[in-house]
């Protein structure tokens, strides 16, 4: 009996050591049982497939900003957003997928078996609870028009990071016919022309010196 207690204690210690490893899956479509996301649009308001999308996690609950520094929109990455090169509390987690037809050509309907999905939908993403992202934090779905560096943002009371290991569907905001939502809420800076110009001048100088 004593031996067992010792074993249990040591195993519990091992268990707590691993508790930092965590991930969650959030989906935004519940075919035939809930809502289907659709009608996410570019800055011009044109519903678009092929847009990069993701979530911005508001790690301290102070909402998101309307402007951030430039970001490399690399799918599958988790990035701290900055303003004036100062880190904010917001993290951008980009999905590996792009906006697409949530109805898959009419194969999927919402839970009412009537409302179709449509273009400009988002399927879901899987990400680690790391780098300050934790269960219980609020997030916004964002979709990005890279031509304007603008993103649309959709918040909802349901958009809360789930607990470690969970697979959840946050489809309820997409029940019924979705309004067209343009990528107009957030402006990401474009790389500064001045820095690009300096680089160009430096290159020209190098070439001239070689001559």
């Amino acid at each position: 009996m004593k031996l067992n207690k010792l074993i249990v204690a040591s195993l519990m210690a091992l268990g707590s050591f691993t508790a930092a490893n965590a991930a969650v899956t959030i989906t935004f479509n519940a075919a035939f049982s809930g809502g289907l996301s659709s009608n996410l649009a570019n800055t011009a308001g044109v519903v678009s497939n092929g847009l990069k999308w993701g979530i911005i996690v508001d790690t301290t609950g102070n909402s998101f900003l309307s402007q951030y520094d430039a970001v490399a929109f690399t799918q599958g990455t988790n990035t701290t957003l900055t303003v004036g090169n100062v880190a904010t509390d917001d993290r951008l987690i980009l999905a590996t997928s792009l906006t697409s037809d949530s109805g898959q050509g009419g194969q999927a309907l919402e839970g009412d078996f009537t409302t179709p999905g449509g273009n400009g939908g988002v399927d879901g993403l899987i990400f680690a609870l790391a780098n300050g992202v934790a269960a219980g934090q609020k997030y916004f779905v964002v979709w990005i028009d890279e031509s304007t560096k603008k993103a649309g943002a959709l918040g909802n009371a349901a958009f809360v990071i789930p607990a470690d290991g969970q697979t959840v569907s946050h489809d309820s905001p997409f029940l019924g016919v979705d309004p067209v939502r343009g990528a107009t809420n957030i402006q990401f800076a474009v790389p500064e022309p001045s820095s690009m110009l300096l680089g160009l001048l430096g290159a020209l100088g190098f070439i001239r010196r070689r001559r």
Binding site: V8, L11, T27, F32, D123, G124, V168
Partner: protein, 341 residues
């Protein structure tokens, strides 16, 4: 193949349902999910952890003549037609080749092409290097979403949550989601399109998730495996991080942990989930931990759990201890009932 199992013996062995002992292969059926009398197999808005308990009917049995790099040649001129085991149909009808005797008994591999006597394979579990001439093999269709759970088995909107085994660490969420549509399974996360041909391998486990409507019953009919259970348990990172594996024991009936030959390291854990309780994203109802001398109940169960039975179409999480080295270990075991066949 093993001889016929007398119906009475089979029923006694499996205790899972009536058997058809007319053929040379033992067959039977297994109820999945919540098997409590009077309860639906899956309550509404509920997750159950499931696995494959039976094989599909054998369509070819033969003997290995030789093997190559990713190929197995059958002796005795089997006379296959080219790509007979990779039919060009939609949805895909994948076939598995399983080694049923010899050192590598239980190895199973997906057939990707074949000539008149040689199959090109992708090994799923096992080591092809250990396969030798005169080893016996069988070929059968793989279980797929569409064959295990045909349309109508569960209400439209029911989902299957799958795990690709690439998620690092513990508490790994689903990497693919499939949804039952009116005409077929549809992949709705991690991909898209008709998913009827998605393979469900023995030794793995997955979740069936209901929405507003329950699944009345889930009954799987098939061939009783008369070859070793074999699956892979992975550790994706160096010591310091634990690793969850969605596993199962390929058997229609329970096998005790103490007799299951689990290649366990002290501190490894088996997470057990209660398919009879309602709810989604349920936590483990019990945890059994490997000790230096056996299996100990450390949550929900106490004391020696060497007699705890696994198998029968249930799914589990096998959590590798953080101190384990990175890499795969192969779990092979001869099911106890085979000794009585």
């Amino acid at each position: 193949m093993k001889p016929i199992i007398p119906t009475t013996l089979f029923a006694a062995l499996l205790a899972v349902g009536a058997a058809n002992a007319a053929a040379t292969d033992p067959v039977g059926y297994v109820s999945l999910g919540d098997t409590t009398s009077g309860n639906p197999a899956v309550k509404a808005t509920t997750d159950v952890m499931l696995s494959i308990p039976l094989a599909r009917p054998t369509e070819f049995a033969g003997v290995v003549a030789s093997k190559g790099a990713g190929t197995i040649t059958i002796g005795g001129n089997p006379g296959w037609t080219t790509n007979q085991w990779v039919p060009a149909v939609t949805p895909a009808t994948p076939y598995l080749l399983t080694v049923t005797s010899g050192t590598e008994e239980g190895l199973f591999a997906l057939i990707t092409a074949n000539t008149t006597d040689t199959a090109t394979v992708t090994v799923i579990a096992g080591n092809l290097a250990n396969v030798a001439a005169n080893d016996q093999v069988v070929i059968a269709k793989a279980w797929t979403l569409g064959s295990l759970f045909p349309v109508g088995t569960a209400p439209t909107g029911t989902q299957v949550l799958a795990f690709d085994g690439l998620g690092v660490g513990i508490n790994v969420p689903a990497s693919q989601i499939y949804t039952m549509a009116p005409a077929n399974w549809l992949q709705t996360f991690g991909g898209s399109g008709n998913a009827n041909g998605t393979i469900l391998y023995p030794g793995e486990s997955f979740i069936m998730r209901t929405a507003g409507n329950p699944v009345a019953s889930l009954v799987v009919s098939g061939e009783v495996p008369t070859w070793n259970h074999k699956t892979i348990i992975s550790k994706l990172t160096a010591p310091g991080t634990g690793q969850d594996n969605r596993i199962s024991y390929f058997s229609p009936v329970g096998e005790t942990l103490g007799n299951a030959s689990v290649p366990a390291t002290t501190g490894d854990q088996l997470l057990i989930f209660d398919n009879s309780t309602a709810g989604q994203n349920k936590g483990a109802s019990a945890i059994i931990t490997k000790t230096p001398t056996g299996w100990l109940g450390t949550f929900g169960l106490t004391g020696d759990q060497s007699g705890y039975q696994i198998g029968g179409g249930s799914g589990y999480v096998y959590r590798r201890v953080p101190s384990a080295p990175a890499g795969d270990v192969t779990w092979t075991d001869e099911q106890g009932y085979i000794l009585n066949l």
